[in-house]
Amino acid sequence: MSKWHKLKRTDLKDFLSRLAEKWEVWVPYRVDGKWEFGIYAPDREMDFPESVIHVSMKNLFFPKRRPIAKYEEDSKWSMQPVAADDKPRIVMGLHPCDVAGIEYMDKVFLNSEHKDVLYESERKRTVLVGMLCSEMADNCHCTDRGLTPDSASGMDVAFAKVDDYYLFKGMTDRGKEIMQSEYLKAVGDAPEKRKWPAGKYAIASPEEFMDMYDDKIWHELSDICLTCGICTYACPTCVCFLVTDEKFKGKGERVTVWDSCQLQSYSRMAGGHNTRKTPASRVRNRTLDKFAYSHLRYGQISCTGCGRCVMVCPLKRSFPQLGARLSERIRDKKKSKAGTGARSKED
């Protein structure tokens, strides 16, 4: 079994610079008070935050705007597929909830006879060097979703911040090459395992959510939601997309772009028919998709408890709170065994 190896904090830059000779290295940067990933540059101040990074991993594997083919505008048909990027890459500093988000995306894009080869190449070129959380931030609730903040599951290399050094451990064959670094020679003790508290957003079971389809609570919940869709862009597992053509100066690209089920245009068809016209129907669809449909489809609910939806919500009432409020209603309903609302005609 592989051991934990020490990296002195003072060696971090040299360690990263050496890795950057071979890999494209992505690390967290603080931009205007928020953490996001960027390509490592030795002269730029970086650090590894103790818990969740504000901008999710999604964009690194499934970019918000992703060309899939190029064409010449003045031709009837000249569409050529783009080439996948295969430059080796390290993403360092992601957390267990990010790994869970990536594992969910794998289920959508790879567990299919029509797998997404561009997503697959992003996965294949990337070594995941994950950081074990040393604290849970205000909105963190991965423990309510069955995750453990200091679990190394799914990482190629795991590391933790301890005093004035980091502890690194190779978890997979892919991670081994990184562990051979001259800066990781000293062996250290395994980081201490912590007992983690529950979050603020415990939820009901997928089956209980399914039973809520016809409840009038969706109208109540949509009254406190703008259906602006920002939570879907911040969410690490919301991967709904639009396929569209974009033209600029005679050059055209077919692109996939992130879309949001909270927007009215999402399900609107040519001719105007829309199966999810009302905010209530859209809030219901997203809530049930997160906590029930995803479970029925892939055996995993599509909420990792990262709390990003809470951080970005303009009303600060956002999604997990809707889920929690709904769960409360489910509990009340079970107690009283009464009170279903009017049946909606929409899905």
Partner: protein, 271 residues
């Protein structure tokens, strides 16, 4: 590198058929040698370069699979562009995708095809299949409703079906129209008038949402059970392969788990 599923293959328009005032059919042939072996009920994604793509039922496949037909009602952005296309133009094609009508399981049964308007398009391959394997099936009854005589599609086929002694064809228009001597009345009313008995039959219904809803109600009134009533559902689809997210009914994706469902497989609100 493996092919990117979302990037279409080029196909040439071999023939354009003006079916009605706002519906045109396009016979398409893939540029490469790949054949489209669409099973009845499957669909394709068709692109106009620079304008995107949309979902169309394959309404006919040539016997050798070298070409196939889609019918396009002028409704929105892309269909408007498609309606401008002429013979020899190139479009993009992906697919076929989706499940299909269980025509093998229907062997020995009487089949009732109930189509409203462009809803006949995804049902025509079932009729083609039955006519190609006539001895495998019982009676074939077709109910086709259009808004007006000017909206009637597939006139050549209707003529052939009319003259086929093994087919009972009922063509109806919604409201009286000058010069029309045929049946008048919306499809659900015709279904009730014909008092279709379930017996050993299966019914396949496709049309505008309101037509499907009331036709299903009429069949249920005539004591048809939900496992005998099939439909092919329509929702906004983009990827066709269960990834872009938007065509779900509950946990099911219409593009991947459907578009063909018997009514016992879908919740009531899906209709």
């Amino acid at each position: 590198m493996a092919t990117i599923e979302l990037v279409p293959e080029p196909a040439m328009i071999k023939k354009v058929i003006q079916e009605s005032r706002d519906v045109k059919s396009y016979v398409l042939k893939l540029d490469k040698s790949r054949k489209i072996a669409a099973r009845p009920g499957q669909f394709v994604e068709v692109s106009v370069q620079g304008f995107g793509e949309a979902t169309f039922a394959v309404t006919r496949t040539s016997k050798d699979g070298s070409d196939f037909t889609i019918s396009v009602k002028r409704m929105g952005h892309l269909t408007k562009m498609l309606h401008r296309a002429v013979r020899g133009d190139m479009v993009g094609v992906r697919g076929p995708y989706g499940n299909s009508f269980p025509v093998d399981a229907w062997k020995g049964k009487d089949i009732v095809i109930i189509g409203g308007g462009i809803g006949l398009a995804p049902l025509r391959p079932i009729i083609d299949h039955i006519l190609q394997h006539r001895e495998d099936y019982g009676k074939l009854e077709i109910i086709f409703g259009a808004r007006t005589p000017e909206d009637i599609l597939y006139k050549e086929d209707l003529g052939i079906w009319e003259n086929d002694e093994t087919i009972q064809l009922h063509t109806t228009i919604d409201v009286p129209f000058e010069g029309w001597n045929g049946r008048v009345g919306v499809v659900p009313v015709v279904v009730k008038d014909l008092a279709l008995k379930p017996d050993s039959r299966v019914a396949v219904v496709c049309g505008p949402p309101i037509m499907i809803k009331f036709t299903v109600a009429a069949l249920r009134e005539l004591k048809w059970s939900d496992d005998r009533i099939y439909t092919t559902l329509e929702m906004k689809m983009q990827c066709g392969i269960g990834q872009c997210g938007r065509c779900n009914i509950g946990e099911k994706f219409i593009c991947k788990d459907g578009p063909v469902f018997s009514l016992d497989q879908i919740p009531e609100h899906a209709l």
